[in-house]
């Protein structure tokens, strides 16, 4: 007899909380990028903005703006600059205010030698 059946009889609840445990399939999901601030120069940022197919990355002077809401998780930025960008692994990104998804990443003022 399955263990959950007895547990359900005992507690009167057969369902589990969300999330009961990390879902194994979550590791394979395409996720928005995570940037390494130390590696992120103006040149790299320019390249990332150029390669982004959706409207998720743009420059505002010395700031790289990343809109996680617009990101499609395509991974082109990770391939364009593997030293500066990795997958974040975050997919539960629902928010109650659109602004919460827009991240401003300051760039170093001087390009590194």
């Amino acid at each position: 007899m399955p263990a959950w059946f007895l547990r359900g009889l005992r507690r009167g609840v057969v369902t589990t909380r969300y999330p009961d445990r990390p879902d194994p399939s979550a590791a394979d999901l395409p996720t928005p990028p995570r940037f390494r601030a130390g590696q992120l120069t103006a040149g790299v940022a320019g390249r990332l903005v150029e390669v982004c197919p959706s409207r998720a990355l743009w420059r505002e002077d010395d700031v790289l703006v990343f809109d996680a809401g617009a990101c499609t998780g395509c991974g082109r930025c990770e391939r364009a600059a593997p030293e500066a960008v990795t997958a974040s692994g975050e997919f539960e990104l629902a928010v109650t205010a659109r602004d919460h998804l827009i991240k401003r990443i300051p760039l170093p003022r001087q390009p590194r030698p």
């Binding site: 369902t15 589990t16 969300y18 999330p19 879902d23 399939s25 979550a26 999901l29 395409p30 928005p32 990028p33 995570r34 940037f35 390494r36 601030a37 130390g38 590696q39 959706s54 409207r55 998720a56 990343f66 809109d67 996680a68 809401g69 617009a70 990101c71 499609t72 998780g73 395509c74 974040s88 975050e90 997919f91 539960e92 990104l93 629902a94 928010v95 109650t96 205010a97 659109r98 919460h100 998804l101 991240k103 990443i105 300051p106 760039l107 170093p108």
Partner: protein, 193 residues
């Protein structure tokens, strides 16, 4: 504060004056009381949604990837029915409108009618990068984002959002979980300041 504001067109000056002279303190207290009662009622209604929510999906020109993921929510692996969430074909039975796609202008009437047919209080959830304005900008054919036409309560990013992300978004919408993306920085190794 004491100055009586010039009477608005259509508002009788006598009424404006009486509100300015004798009713100021009690009016403010009354308004606060009404506000508090409204807040309590709203909270009670919102709590009803937590374990009983009917969802109407609205495709406004999406590529159907979002629909595919939404359909998977009812599969045994994700099983959203265990949470008390159900899909309904009728907007008149729906508490939550799950909008996908960039809101093509050809859908204007359908979007408006669907929203108006829903009984209040209603929750609108924008689903997927298109609905969040990430893929198509406003132009002659699309509005570009859901918040251009409807008041959005919850945004679920992703292209498409996985069923897990959708489930999380629905739980955020009914207040059973808090959105955590606001605290995520998407940056590591010491941001230069």
């Amino acid at each position: 504060m004491n100055a009586v504001s010039p009477a608005q067109p259509g508002c009788s000056p006598g009424r404006a004056r009486s509100a300015g002279i004798d009713g100021q303190g009690s009016d403010a207290a009354g308004a606060a009381e009404i506000e508090q009662a409204a807040g309590q009622l709203r909270e009670r209604i919102d709590r009803q949604f937590r374990r009983s929510l009917h969802i109407r999906t609205l495709d406004t020109g999406s590529c159907a990837a979002c629909e595919q993921e939404i359909r998977l929510l009812a599969a045994p692996h994700y099983d959203l029915h265990r949470l008390g969430f159900f899909f309904t074909p009728a907007p008149r039975h729906a508490d939550l409108l799950l909008v996908t796609g960039p809101i093509v202008r050809a859908m204007d009437v359908a979007v408006r009618k669907t929203y108006e047919a829903m009984p209040g209080p209603k929750i609108v959830v924008a689903t997927g990068a298109c609905a969040l304005g990430g893929v198509l900008g406003p132009d002659a054919f699309v509005h570009g984002a859901v918040d251009a036409v409807l008041p959005v309560d919850v945004w679920i990013p992703g292209c498409p959002p996985s069923p897990l992300a959708l489930l999380h978004g629905l739980l955020v919408a009914v207040g059973r979980l808090a959105g955590k993306a606001g605290e995520l920085a998407f940056v590591t190794e010491g941001t230069p300041r």
